[in-house]
Amino acid sequence: MFSNRSIFAAAPLAVAASLAQAQISDGVVKIGVLSDMSSLYSDIGGGGSVVAARMAIADFPTKGIKVELLSADHLNKPDVGSSIARQWYDVDKVDVIVDVPTSSVALAINQITREKGKAFLVSGAASSDLTGKACSPNTIHWTYDTWMLANGTGNAIVKTGGDSWYFITADYAFGLALERDTEAVVLKNGGKVLGKVRHPLNAQDFSSFLLQAQASKAKIIGLANAGGDTTNAIKQAAEFGIVKGGQNLAGLLVFLSDIHGLGLDKAQGLIFTETFYWDLNDQTRAFARRFAAANSGKYPTMVQAGVYSAITHYLKAVEAGKTDDGTKVIAKMKELPTDDPLFGKGRVRIDGRKLHPAYLVEVKKPSESKGPYDYYKIRATIPAEQAFRPLNEGGCSLVK
């Protein structure tokens, strides 16, 4: 809606018109970060995604290619997101849209991007349909997806005895996909699902849903939601004595910002899956400190790290392919191996799935944490090839 343009010229104006420039549409690569800038997901992506994009552009040594950055707020509404995307592609000549949390919005933009032959790099949205039945030659799903979350967290929990589940699910594309993918993992491992309840997005009060989950007597209450919905559900579950009563919560999608908001005393012991944590190695730590300095002290979530990584690889492909034509760049991105300081070495699969390792993490006890953002213990690393859905199981039409 409020299309606040922070135009950012990464490279000085190209002095010599190189061959590369001849095939860059209107002489400039325009990147649009479309995110939730004002509501429940804005700490996950939002302004932090714009910071990450700016860092990626500044860090990548472009040879004579001018890069501009735009950003806008899609308000988590598919109609708003779609009209911004159309305006960006048709009027503002944007070449690639990045981030887009909220799966319903991302699925709409996936379709528009394909029609327009542009490029779409998804970091914030989760639905595994983006590389499944909705897969597109113009889209890469970068950071994580519902299948990977279900596989990482669901497997770990069922194998340690959590074999009966009740789902509290956000009632839209993302929640339903996460519930579906997790249910499949639970059933495959011999567990059972005793019931489910769907709540509207941004529900605030979860006591009613929690009571229904409590009455089901399921061992595990799976939270197939995100952001403020997850933190409110966890907080209120503690209030209603759910964990004390012997049931356990499984946060299926939890971000660093959620743990920061909840506090360790409420969040300790939660187990979930992430693909990025700032305290993995020297490179991620260095990135996180620079990021935090530019983002009023807040550390990067995996979504924001994914924006950085995706744009880095995009610019590499633009440079290598000497074009910013959407379909061609995406093809080039699939051809080139990926390598960046945050996600390490990896690759992009034919269905648009970016592959990298995933981490099963456990939230530290308050006594184990050295300070703000020192929140996770890495329990297991899931190798890239096992972390994501096998290529032939997604039903993507690009896979022959």
């Binding site: 004002s38 509501s39 429940l40 997901y41 804005s42 700490d43 939002g46 009632d171 309840v197 769907r198 709540h199 509207p200 941004n202 529900a203 605030q204 009060d205 006591s207 009613s208 849903f209 009571l211 229904q212 409590q214 009455a215 952001g227 403020g228 933190t231 409110n232 907080k235 209120q236 209030e239 209603f240 004595g241 009563g245 910002s257 959620d258 920061h260 908001g261 909840l262 506090g263 409420k266 807040k298």
Partner: protein, 294 residues
């Protein structure tokens, strides 16, 4: 025993939870009704003032070490005073104009206040611990009732009834109501009407801030907590009848109950059911259930 496939035990639990949410609706819509009924201002800043109440409690705790109980007393006062300053400096200039100008001003203010808080504190929210005395809960047989939630119902009913009593049954309330009907005449009797109006606005705002402190331990203290709630609360006020004190209290609790039942029988509709009721009420009784046509 079961009702429509839901065990009665579970149903009791859900009704009680509906009542808890109804407590917040009642407290907030009461403040709105007081302000509208006596000042004719549609106070769209109400949600932001509720949020400021929660943040004020948080600041008191973290910056000054002042706990929940004192916050419950200090916060409505502090936020109420901010409200009165807003009334004196801005709203007072709009009384001669159409309602719509007041609405626009308060709506704009709400956006500014929320934007400032969001910029500073993000949207993940900040935790505020339950007061020690009210942690834990009791098993009622059909559900586990956290002590704090029981306290919310109790406090809300007491505050609502006290407010109703003050406005409808005391001399001060009579002055207030008279000043709404005919300010010139009341002024002629030597009563300082502008000051009374300022205090009334401050009181309405204080009610919102009080609800904010009550909400802080249950929800995350979040810059958007009021924005999410205010639309629902407006629907409650419209259903109850704009400006009707008792109407807003009864409707607040009743809609909490109805919403609670919806969460059991058809949870997908739980955030729209109030608006469906609003549409029906507006068609049948445009002045609201307890309102009178002016």
């Amino acid at each position: 025993m079961e009702i429509f496939g839901i065990p009665t035990q579970a149903l009791f639990g859900q009704l009680l939870i509906g009542l808890i949410n109804g407590s917040f609706y009642a407290l907030l819509s009461l403040g709105l009704a007081v302000i509208f009924g006596l000042l004719n201002i549609i106070n769209f800043t109400h949600g932001a003032q509720y949020m400021m109440g929660a943040f004020c409690a948080y600041f008191l705790l973290t910056k000054l070490g002042i706990g929940y109980w004192w916050a419950l007393a200090v916060t409505p006062l502090a936020v109420g005073i901010i409200g009165m300053v807003i009334e004196r400096l801005m709203l007072a200039r709009l009384y001669k104009l159409d309602h719509l100008y007041g609405l626009l001003l308060t709506f704009g203010l709400a956006l500014i206040i929320q934007g400032l808080f969001r910029n500073e504190y993000g949207t993940s929210g900040i935790p505020y611990a339950l007061p020690q005395e009210l942690s834990g809960g009791r098993n009622l047989g059909f559900m586990f009732l956290p002590n704090y939630r029981a306290w919310v119902i109790l406090a809300s009913i007491v505050v609502c009834l006290a407010t109703w009593f003050m406005i409808e049954k005391t001399r001060l309330g009579a002055y207030l109501r008279a000043a709404t009907e005919n300010p010139q005449l009341v002024q002629a009797f030597g009563i300082n009407v502008p000051r009374m109006i300022t205090l009334t606005y401050g009181f309405g705002v204080a009610l919102a801030a009080f609800a904010g402190v009550m909400a802080a331990p249950i929800y995350q203290v979040n810059p958007l907590m009021g924005a999410d709630l205010i639309i629902v609360v407006f629907a409650v006020v419209v259903i109850g009848g704009m400006g009707s004190i008792m109407g807003s209290i009864v409707t607040g609790f009743a809609l909490g109950l109805i919403e609670g039942l919806t969460k059991v029988f058809y949870p997908e509709a739980s955030n729209t059911v109030i608006f469906i009721i609003m549409a029906i009420v507006l068609m049948i009784k445009p002045a609201g259930l307890f309102g009178t046509q002016r």
